[in-house]
Subunit: 240 residues, 2 copies
């Protein structure tokens, strides 16, 4: 590669990174706005989420196209190739987080248009804060090539799963006590489920960051082995 090509390639890699971070920032905002719409009933936010969704879709396609071109033209190897392949996978998860945020926003509209008396859904706010933090953490870990920080996201997903199960139990109890709330509670269950899925996607992205940094595939290895690999240790070391 000539020095010129090399410089241009580095610039293109940086652009790929920064575009993905931009896309991630939009998705983070979408989740927050969708939940804000749900809690406050401010339905202008629903339109905002839907607008952002179009930007996210556009970025997904653009970034993927650039990745294909960069691999074809510049024939990257090792860490550069891992960056590009990782972003290509993370794009999919990020876009689906955006889809889930859009579903939440639509559900918020339906719930608020259907009735004035409304469940404040405090518990969901809690899961929501949790998964928004996970998206932010995975973006930070990606921006700083920080595998250890990425591993915390993998661990946090376990917490979100617990919170989701607790919210589900609570909503089922609520429906049983007052069957008139069934329809509304089902909507809330789907919102909780969407949040849980966003946590899952954040975990998937975190696993890709670890792959990007170390070249090890930590999908299906369990949290403890993931944390060891993220620290650069052997996955089979005895726990300290």
């Amino acid at each position: 590669m000539s020095e010129h090509t090399n410089k241009q390639f580095s610039a293109e890699l940086e652009l790929t990174r920064s575009s993905f971070l931009q896309m991630g920032g939009l998705v983070e905002a979408m989740v927050q706005e969708a939940m804000e719409a749900l809690v406050t009933g401010e339905l202008g936010l629903v339109d905002k989420v839907r607008e952002r969704e179009r930007d996210v879709n556009r970025l997904e396609v653009e970034i993927d196209e650039r990745i294909g071109l960069l691999i074809a033209r510049n024939q990257p190897a090792a860490v550069d190739l891992r960056l590009l392949l990782s972003v290509s996978k993370m794009l999919t998860d990020m876009e689906r987080c955006g889809d889930e945020a859009e579903k939440i926003a639509k559900m918020a509209r339906r719930l608020h248009e259907a009735e004035s008396r409304y469940i404040p859904a405090v518990e969901l706010r809690h899961i929501s804060n949790h998964v928004v933090a996970m998206i932010r953490d995975v973006l930070d870990a990606f921006a700083r090539d920080d595998a250890v920080h990425a591993a915390t996201v993998v661990r946090n997903d376990k917490e979100v799963d617990k919170e989701w199960k607790a919210a589900l139990r609570h909503l089922i109890t609520y429906m049983m006590e007052d069957p008139r709330t069934i329809s509304r509670s089902i909507d809330l269950i789907f919102i909780a489920r969407s949040l849980e899925r966003i946590g899952d996607h954040a975990k998937n992205m975190a696993e890709r960051v670890i792959y990007m940094v170390h070249g090890d595939d930590v999908r299906h290895t369990g949290v403890k082995a993931t944390e060891r690999i993220a620290r650069g240790e052997s996955p089979d070391d005895i726990d300290a």
Copy 2:
């Protein structure tokens, strides 16, 4: 590339294709077996699904590793690169179909262990047949580089969405009429939701097959434009 390297590369590409088809075959079986367990209560199938899930995970990691090596070593371009990038994305969707099948199998166990009297859930069987056919179609389309066939999967996903919404309405009515069925019905709603997601993943994979064949990204373009692109026409042609 020397003739030898070239031959070896072609063989590796074929192996990548056939491994993905093998993985797809496992996932197709998992969905069928999970639903069979649900409908018949034959819980040995649940263990079978969980075993297959491990094979699917192993294949996911192996195929992805081979793709990374092939891109780094052989620096493929054009259609070969599109094949590898497409399979890399499809792997994720396929593995998640397997996850959904495993969730269904676990739910089947819980439902059958909890009570003897049981809802036959005929409607779910219908959605299930539909999404299994979609997985099979997308594998066929992939094996034969058939973009037009892939586009039928994208269209079929609309049908699955309708069936899912109908099943949901039915189950909500059921709960309202007899609140004692709430807990069980929620489980069935999640099974229906898993099936709907499998349909979604099949659609995503079908879009990747079209990209592989034509090099056009049809995510977010709508069904009609997708069908035109799959036929090799301009996306903006007037409908015949």
